[in-house]
Symmetry: C2
Subunit: 332 residues, 2 copies
């Protein structure tokens, strides 16, 4: 086990003071370069709730802790910078665990962040607990010169685009939990999506820089539920054309084997950290251009509508699907 | 129990979006006014480690969670602003507990912050745990136009000043823990110092604004240990004249009844959140002026010396005290 000062020393060794931070670990406060950061997001992961040691390695847990905050900055169309790390360690969190956790964060910072963004630790707090381990990451970022992209800018007529895959992390977690009698080795992409989600850091920053989205968010609780955050804050409704939703081949195979409905996973599954982009039709060519150039998987899945239409989820023949999804209740 | 959305709603009701925050609770990130905040501090309190429900009310716990971060901003000579709140609630944290916690934070924000600083919530995260409750506060602040006061500016010849009382919170905690057979009702100030520490928010901001300290920090682990943080970062030594340390009358009475040494409490007791100010002799008249005008208790307790002299703790006759204190080891 690290004692407090060894642990702080260790964190400072793995994570040098980031750009934008004048004074990092070691004083009463960190000092930021004035005017550098204007975005703040904070996420807490709790053992037994957000991660399990029998499902994820310490490296996976560290990766995810940083990844979920990186995803929030991406969803604002901004770029990530300094983060603050609060580690509340349990009685069994030995040096191997802590080193793994920090290494996973370092890997996420290196693998997920686009060129030009240096993501590292500006400060934090280390404490102990008799209970489950708790990891909090508070990440600062900078919005693009075009301004931050919020959830409130969606306007009737805007298209709804999904960047990435839907529902695969949730299916991976269900496999790890043993909820279905399948062979986990048959579904490496689903398992990996749970263990090492890949937030769209580069994509979000680029979309923000080019001023493409009128609204944006990342999928953390499931498409049906998260989309409603945009609708509520924008005062709008939407229709989702389910036949255009991304269907990951492993997810289709999994659904066939388990007799489950792909729509359930795609609309209700959380923690994919993919982006929902809302953009006026006139900017759609920019999105197709970007997708072609950078080999993004983008799917045009629906339209923002007037508020009184609510959220309607449509079958391929255009009729509403009379089924409830997590966070979405069908009213016949 | 609050569900997640009720809890966020509740926090937003108690804490309106603070000044300096363009967009608070409800999006992927909070958006800050550019250039407003340049100080960041974060503190985690864990049930059973930093607080106990049989010693402190929910209000006391909330108070302390915010107070410890307010103290860090004060120690930089800055002013506090927006804070981010990560609540990890246990199975028994019902509405009464959560409402009390938030009310204690609101009381601290109102009672401790000087005119002109509005301290409120800019965002956060709410999670659950099967174990002890964990509360993290990440507080943003702004340094004074004279610049932030760090731990590294102490220079040989500077005076060391204590603002406030030393060791009384630790004595209060020892009483609550039943470590001594005394009547708790005889020591209301000691108990209160543990339950409701009063960080020097106004004093720190004013000292910073006037550019008085060359270095400053708040006492969280005990004077002997915390002072060494300044010495290490400043590359200096110090001598402490123990006869000038503040002797709270209740602490003296407590020491008499328990047969303990006041020096042990004053040098080793943490969590008083009082300030250690280091200032050149030429600025001492400013400190005496401020103390007189604002009725501060300040004590000139020693001098910064050359690094090779180390930290020496002196009796009233000028001879070194040959005794170890927490964080301080006497070398004869």
């Amino acid at each position: 086990m690290y004692d407090e000062f060894e642990l702080i020393e260790r964190i400072a060794t793995v994570f040098p003071t980031p750009e934008g931070v004048t004074l990092g670990i070691g004083d009463d406060c960190a000092i930021l370069d004035p005017g550098r950061f204007d975005l703040v997001t904070t996420d807490t992961l709790v053992e037994g709730v957000h991660f399990r040691r029998d499902f994820s390695s310490p490296q996976d847990i560290g990766w995810k802790a940083l990844a979920s905050s990186l995803s929030d900055i991406a969803a604002m169309g901004g770029g990530p910078g300094a983060f603050f790390l609060n580690l509340t360690l349990g009685p069994n969190d030995d040096k191997t665990f802590v080193d793994g956790l920090l290494e996973g964060m370092r890997q996420a910072a290196e693998a997920l962040t686009p060129n030009g963004f240096e993501v590292s630790v500006g400060g934090g707090d280390t404490t102990s607990t008799s209970g489950p381990t708790v990891v909090t990451v508070t990440l600062l970022g900078e919005s693009s010169p075009a301004g931050p992209v919020t959830r409130s800018g969606a306007f009737p007529g805007d298209r709804i685009i999904v960047l990435g895959e839907m529902g695969i992390a949730a299916a991976g977690l269900a496999i790890l939990k043993g909820e279905f009698e399948v062979n986990a080795a048959d579904y490496p992409a689903l398992i990996e999506a749970h263990r090492r989600p890949r937030p769209r850091v580069h994509e979000g920053a680029l979309l923000g820089l080019l001023g493409v989205p009128s609204a944006m968010l990342d999928v953390s609780d499931g498409l049906a539920q998260d989309l409603q955050h945009i609708l509520k804050r924008s005062g709008a409704g939407a229709s989702i054309e389910t036949h255009n939703l991304p269907r990951h081949p492993e997810l289709l195979k999994f659904c066939e084997e388990t007799g489950t409905d792909p729509l359930d996973w795609m609309l209700s599954g959380g923690e994919d950290f993919e982006l929902i982009i809302v953009a006026p039709p006139a900017r759609m060519t920019k999105i197709w251009d970007l997708a072609r150039r950078h080999e993004w998987n983008v799917y045009d899945i629906g339209e923002i509508r007037a508020q009184e239409e609510g959220l309607r989820i449509l079958a391929s023949d255009g009729t509403p699907i009379t089924k409830d999804f997590k966070g979405y209740r069908h009213f016949a």
